[in-house]
């Protein structure tokens, strides 16, 4: 059974070797003459004015989380759509219930104002 | 009927709880009303039970009302066994208790602890009823300890008096000795029968008769004998038999109503009741019966002697109680259980009467208890005088009075008995009759007749006590006179105790008596010519001569027989002996234990050590509980790893 994974293993090894070889070739063969301008962070020709790890507005997270829920819904819907003719009415009803529950969540978040930016 | 039984138990308990918990709210009269109503309810219901069982001859009731738990097949439960024996005890207890409740209104009138007192005596009634109505050993033990607890609380009721505290400590310690034996006895029953239920134990008892145990290796002892003697040790503590009698005279430090209710009429007879209840066990062990008999006769005779030299009115009666308890024990020893119960009942009435009468005198004398400072009271307090005289006549066994029937039956039963020790017992109870008569009339003459020796102030204020005091006296006087003649035939020779008390044919002395019994009247007439009555007369005569005709003689006798007097005055040196060997011995052992074992080992290592150790562990673990998330996660992972390595590499 494990032999099925042999190509994967070979692929992993080749990828590892290729990556290592390319980086190390550049490191060993390329000339390195550093100066201040070359070492500074590049920001469209200006000095950088703040830390790159800045705080995001918390609302980004909210939207992102809400997005993920409905995104995953699609991931569930695709396989369901493919086998729909095999799982019959019960399969249809099950998905209807699932979507119904999601709609309830949607109503809740809408009414709570989670979708408003301001 | 079950509801009636429950009502009997619960009515006094409710009274006690209300008076105890809400005493301040309901006030003094509220407290006595609520408890009296409770006890009166119990008394009336007991009368119904008495009629139902004794008069109508209903079958005994045996049932459990509440099972607490079942452990390894042993049921721990509360249940009632109500048969004729129980019914008689219930009626007696509730009647005397009711009388004492009413009487207390007068006696404790000025006391601060009024509500507390009522709460206690109602609680006592509850506990005593639990004890007599029990159908298993566990509940018996509960009632046994509960009455002991209330007795302890009441002896020390006036807790500011040093002597009262000493007396209740003494009662507590001595009773512990008895209770220890009792507990061992119950344990023996449990071990042998694997049940605590009376019915199971009694049914299985005959099969166990020949069982032996080895307590000391190599010596085979009969299981029944060991069990019965252990149980009897419990009875000796509670019913104050020699040598565990020393607490009872001191218990007179408690208020007089308590002396009447607990230390004369009811609680101290619990031991007698218990042995009678256990008759199916005791009958299987003649050795145990002999022990009972000998202990009883020693108590009956020698405690009577002490009554002669006492000068405290209550203590004289207390020693008389001891002596009468001895009589009951003697009756148990010769297998005349019904005679013991009969005497228990008559004694409850007349001894409660005597105590309450003494209390009445004490009220009138402004709490003076020394009989040398009394005399001639009959003019001032006629009701107390007459009722006290009736009680005295009943106590000494004047033919026709209640005490005569019960005491004479016991004497006859001892006479008929064949078991080892019966000869000595017969001598003791015979001589006891004379002694009883002597100290009773000494008391009576010194208190009610002769020269008025009290101080002038007291004499001026002498008058009869109020109705709440005298009515109970009158109500108690009636049964003290008539109850014996009324009940001797059914109780001793009838069917009342058939199936309740078990007597093997070869021990059945009462059957022997029955052959010569031709009615109560006849029994009394016959008594007039018997030896006991002659001894009673002799006692009366001596008392009259010594304390009425020639009051100077006792002093001379005392000087002549100084050694004997000293022995009696020091109560055979029991107290000194116990003080020296047990009390001081245990004090000294205690000191050693305290200094080295307790302070060093237990305090130092165990208690403080534990505390220090606990503190240390707690501090360390508290440290582990650092509040840092990664510490917590780390702890979980470490825990997982340890479990994993343990089980995977195992």
């Amino acid at each position: 059974m494990l032999s099925n994974y042999l190509p994967v293993l070979i692929f992993v090894i080749i990828a590892f070797i290729a990556g290592t070889v390319m980086v190390s070739l550049g490191y060993f063969l390329g000339p390195r003459r550093d100066d201040d301008a070359k070492l500074s962070a590049y920001e469209c020709g200006f000095e950088s004015f703040e830390d790159a790890r800045m705080k995001f507005d918390v609302r980004y997270y909210l939207v992102a989380i809400l997005f993920i829920i409905f995104d995953l819904e699609i991931a569930f819907l695709f396989p369901w759509a493919i086998v729909l003719d095999k799982i019959g009415l019960f399969g249809f009803a099950a998905m209807a219930v699932f979507l119904g529950i999601l709609v309830i969540g949607f109503i809740y978040e809408w009414k709570k104002g989670a979708l408003e930016w301001e | 009927m079950q509801n009636i039984y429950l009502g009997i138990i619960l009515a006094p308990l409710m009274g006690a709880l209300i008076a105890g918990l809400f005493g301040r709210k309901i006030g003094r009269s509220g407290a006595h009303w609520i408890t009296i109503i409770g006890v009166a309810t119990a008394f009336l219901l007991s009368l119904i039970v008495l009629r139902h069982h004794v008069l109508s001859g209903a079958a005994p009731y045996n049932g459990s009302i509440y099972t607490w738990m079942i452990v390894e097949g042993i049921r721990l439960e509360v249940g009632f066994l109500v048969d004729n024996l129980t019914a008689i005890m219930m009626a007696t207890v509730t009647f005397v208790s009711l009388m004492v409740h009413i009487y207390t209104i007068g006696y404790m009138h000025d006391d601060d602890g009024y509500q507390r007192f009522f709460s206690y005596i109602a609680l006592f009634t509850f506990a005593m009823l639990m004890l007599v109505m029990s159908n298993n050993f566990l509940q018996l033990f509960f009632g046994w300890e509960a009455v002991g607890l209330v007795s302890y609380l009441l002896i020390g009721f006036w807790y500011k008096r040093e002597s009262a505290i000493f007396a209740n400590m003494k009662a507590f310690l001595v009773n512990r000795v008895g209770d220890f034996g009792f507990l061992l006895g119950i344990a023996a029953v449990l071990m042998a029968f694997n049940s605590l239920d009376y019915a199971d134990v009694f049914a299985a008892a005959p099969l166990m008769a020949s069982m032996t145990v080895q307590i000391i290796p190599g010596a085979d002892w009969s299981l029944m004998t060991v069990t019965c003697i252990l149980l009897f040790i419990g009875a000796m503590g509670k019913s104050a038999q020699v040598p565990l009698h020393v607490w009872l005279p001191d218990s007179m430090e408690g208020p007089t109503p308590i002396s009447a209710l607990i230390h004369a009429a009811t609680m101290v007879t619990a031991g007698i009741f218990m042995v009678a209840r256990m008759s199916p066990l005791f009958e299987l062990s003649p050795t145990a019966l002999s022990v009972v008999l000998v202990i009883g006769s020693i108590t009956a005779l020698f405690m009577g002697f002490l009554g002669i030299v006492q000068n405290d009115i209550k203590r004289v009666i207390a020693y008389s109680t001891l002596s009468q308890l001895g009589y009951m024990t003697v009756a148990l020893g010769v297998s005349a259980y019904s005679a013991a119960i009969f005497h228990l009942m008559t004694h409850a009435f007349f001894k409660a009467l005597l105590f309450l009468g003494a209390g009445s005198v004490i009220i009138a004398m402004h709490h003076e208890q020394d009989i040398r400072k009394m005399g001639g009271l009959w003019k001032y307090m006629p009701i107390t005088w007459v009722t006290f005289l009736l009680g005295t006549l009943a106590l000494i066994g004047t033919p026709g009075f209640a005490g005569f029937y019960s005491k004479d039956s016991i004497i006859e039963a001892v006479h008929a008995s064949q078991i080892p020790g019966a000869g000595f017992a017969y001598f003791a109870v015979m001589l006891g009759v004379f002694v009883t008569s002597l100290y009773s009339f000494r008391l009576y003459f010194l208190v009610f007749h002769g020269k008025e020796r009290m101080d002038h102030h007291t004499q001026e204020h002498l008058h009869e006590t109020p109705a709440v005091v005298t009515v109970p006296l009158i109500l108690l006087a009636i049964p003290s006179v008539v109850i014996g003649a009324m009940t001797i035939e059914p109780l001793l020779f009838g069917e009342v105790f058939k199936g309740v008390i078990m007597v093997t044919p070869e021990h059945n002395v009462l059957e022997h008596l029955a052959e010569h019994f031709h009615g109560a009247m006849n029994f009394a007439l016959h008594g007039l010519t018997g030896l006991p009555f002659i001894l009673v007369l002799a006692g009366f005569g001596s008392a009259w001569y010594l304390y009425m005709a020639r009051p100077d003689v006792p002093e001379r006798i005392r000087q002549l027989a100084a050694p004997v007097y000293d022995i009696l005055d020091n109560k055979y040196y029991f107290d000194q002996f116990y003080q020296r060997f047990f009390a001081r011995g245990s004090c000294e052992t205690g000191t050693v234990l305290w200094k080295y074992v307790d302070a060093g080992l237990i305090d130092g290592l165990l208690v403080n050590g534990t505390a220090r150790w606990v503190g240390w562990v707690a501090a360390v673990t508290r440290h582990l509980q650092s509040g840092y998330l990664y510490h917590y996660a780390f702890a979980m992972i470490i825990g997982l790893l340890i479990l994993l390595t343990w089980f995977v590499t195992r």
């Binding site: 095999k86 019960f90 809740y108 | 607490w68 673990t621 509980q625 997982l640 479990l643």
Partner: protein, 479 residues
């Protein structure tokens, strides 16, 4: 392959709670703040309805449905009834608290109901999948509940810890589940049980999986050394949420142990018995010892919970029917005691003052004798004083342990429950022998007072008549 609709009758209570919770979520957002009591009422009605449905359909013989993922049996139904009961008490006790702390929001009840649903799935789980599903539904609700008071930094910290550690535990549980699946080829507990019985207990993969499962479950119960979250969360969370976490979820966790260890991995009893011995010894010792030095009442109760969990495990590890019945009895009695104790903590607060320390109980007897008496009953029961429910519970588990020959373990339990009695009695001392530090009268609404009185008296009644519930537990476990 064609799907056939499974039998929905056994899951009607779950469906009902789910529907009502969803409905409540929608209703609540359309309500004004002053109409919030409607949410409260609907939540209570939901619990009542679920209780009625469970009682009507009470299982006399086990039925599995949902393709073997769900089982309806008497044990599950009995535990569910007590879950509804204690949750209803929790909702009632915390109502006034939430109001005065401005936390009276619909989310508390919605999340509460989803938690109840999670517990119902847990007690009725018949496959490792539904075990995990129920557990996560409950846990997620709890994380959110703990964080509900967003303005409190303590509560946020507690929620964060709880969430991270809970995820870690869930991960371990999942890992264990995957191991079991790998060794047996199924998640259905019946199939797992058969497979394990076939291959015997020597399979290393099985033991590996078992360790992870036990660790995951112990985290939920709060057994040492997986207890670290418990004191911090109990103390940090709003008391109404502590009340919730401390009560019904313990019943569900008990059921989970029974389902997974006894029903699923019964053949491995020799292994998990030893693990549980270690966990319970540590829990009893640490819980009782550390509780002694606590001054914060919620923290003290948290450590007392840990020790109770140790006793609960004693019953399970006995591995006999009487042991399981004793553990079940213990779990139910513990929940009643915990609801009562935290209920008292919550009730004695008022606007601007919350009970935090044991000292806040000082002199309660002078302020309200009845409440002091109830607290006395609860503390005595927790300490295991005879004639209280807690005594009988302890007694039964210890007896079960003695009967399998582990006398030392029983002695250990007795010694530590004596040590443990100390800190309960300290509360009693505060109640009766100390002077009150505050004199403000205590205001408690009538329905709450009736409920807490019933709660306290129930503990006395169960102490006096333990056999009824005990028999119920034993028969529920039999079928």
């Amino acid at each position: 392959m064609n799907f056939v609709a499974p039998d929905f009758m056994p899951v009607v209570p779950e469906l009902f709670v789910l529907t009502m919770a969803c409905l409540l979520l929608v209703i609540d957002v359309f309500l004004e703040q002053r109409q919030r009591y409607i949410t409260y009422g609907v939540a209570q009605l939901t619990l009542l309805g679920a209780a009625l449905l469970t009682l009507v359909t009470y299982a006399h013989a086990p039925v599995t449905t949902m393709f073997g993922h769900y089982i309806k049996d008497a044990m599950g139904d009995l535990l569910k009834i007590f879950i509804y009961l204690s949750s209803a008490a929790v909702f009632l006790y915390s109502r006034d608290y939430l109001r005065r702390r401005d936390l009276f929001k619909g989310e508390y009840y919605v999340l509460g109901l989803f938690g109840v649903l999670g517990m119902m799935i847990m007690v009725s789980a018949h496959s490792l999948l539904s075990v995990y599903l129920g557990l996560e539904l409950l846990s997620l609700s709890l994380y959110a509940l703990v964080a509900m008071d967003r303005d409190s930094p303590v509560a946020s910290e507690a929620a964060m810890k709880y969430f991270v550690l809970g995820s870690l535990a869930s991960g371990m549980l999942l890992y264990g589940i995957s191991m079991i699946y790998g060794a047996t080829g199924s998640v259905d507990l019946q199939v797992v049980s058969d497979a394990v019985a076939r291959q015997g207990a020597d399979n290393l993969v099985l033991v590996f999986g078992l360790v992870f499962l036990v660790v995951g479950l112990s985290f939920k119960l709060g057994a040492v050394p997986f207890h670290m979250w418990l004191p911090d969360v109990y103390q940090g969370a709003p008391t109404s949420v502590t009340l919730y976490i401390g009560s019904a979820p313990k019943l569900a966790a008990f059921a989970l142990m029974m389902r997974v260890l006894v029903d699923g991995l019964g053949t491995l009893q020799g292994d998990w018995q030893q693990m549980l011995i270690i966990l319970s010894v540590l829990s009893i010792a640490l819980g009782n010892l550390v509780a002694i030095v606590q001054t914060n009442i919620k923290r003290m109760l948290a450590y007392s919970t840990i020790s109770h969990v140790g006793f609960l495990l004693l019953g399970i590890l006995a591995g006999s029917p009487e042991g399981y019945a004793a553990a079940m009895f213990y779990a139910i009695v513990y929940v009643l005691m915990a609801v009562g104790a935290f209920g008292m903590v919550i009730m004695l607060g008022r606007t601007g003052f919350e009970v935090e320390n044991i000292d806040d109980f000082k002199g309660l007897n002078d302020r309200s004798p009845w409440l002091a008496f109830l607290m006395l009953v609860i503390m005595m029961s927790m300490a295991g004083v005879p004639f209280m429910a807690g005594f009988y519970a302890k007694w039964m588990v210890l007896q079960a342990v003695v009967n399998i020959g582990l006398v030392w373990l029983a002695l250990f339990g007795v010694v530590f429950s004596v040590i443990g009695a100390f800190y309960y009695l300290r509360v009693v001392k505060c109640l009766y022998f100390d002077k009150p530090e505050q004199s403000e009268p205590i205001h408690i609404s009538l329905d709450t007072e009736i409920a807490i009185s019933a709660n306290g008296l129930l503990l006395v009644a169960l102490g006096l008549y333990p056999t009824a519930l005990m028999t119920w537990c034993a028969t529920a476990l039999l079928n």
